[in-house]
Symmetry: C2
Subunit: 118 residues, 2 copies
């Protein structure tokens, strides 16, 4: 079973989620939110972007279910939501054997490098 909804709805959600994650600004926003809630201003600070640009990014993240937003007077604090990331994880599981192999090969490389150094 999938997390919820029909197959095509799940596909549409994955579309939105992967597309949202395909932007370094948005990933940086998520990284910051991983250490707690933040307002739009706080999230915008590190970037050389206009405030509306950040608001657009946040809207993309929200529509992808990656964040949710509260209210604190005129602030709209953002919080990271795990559900979409869970869906991505679930999707990835199907390919576990492939990236397991990759990790294994990586381990080999690292071990070899270490051995060479001795």
């Amino acid at each position: 079973m999938s997390t919820s909804g029909t197959r095509q709805a799940a596909a549409a959600r994955l579309d939105a989620t992967f597309a949202a994650l395909a932007d370094p600004t948005r990933r940086a926003i998520l990284a910051k939110l991983a250490s707690g809630e933040a307002t739009v201003m706080e999230l915008a600070a590190p970037f050389d972007l206009s405030q509306p640009a950040i608001s657009k990014h946040l809207k993309v993240l929200e529509r992808a279910g990656l964040i949710s937003r509260g209210r604190d007077a005129q602030r709209r604090p953002c919080r990271l939501e795990g559900a979409s990331l869970a869906e991505v994880t679930e999707w990835l599981e199907r390919y576990r054997q492939f990236w397991d192999e990759s990790f294994a090969r990586l381990d080999d490389v690292l071990r070899d490098l270490k051995t060479e150094g001795e």
Copy 2:
């Protein structure tokens, strides 16, 4: 440490990988490749798309490192490559606590539903 390369190179690779995964046609291609190599014709068959469209998708997947291609006469068999998926997995790890929580909540929901049914 990251899988390889500088931070911004890693970010660029994630950009390409997530963007590649943000398309249902391309995810379907990967799904088929999960059960073994396939030629362009074989991959194109299920879709109502022109052959060049599929070639474009394959190019996107290749540039994202998600597939590699061999040679068999005039065929260019495609094979799934796990390295990029491993990088995605690695990236996701940072947010594990969040999707773990989501999975936990999902489990709760499922358990509740089951209990109701008794």
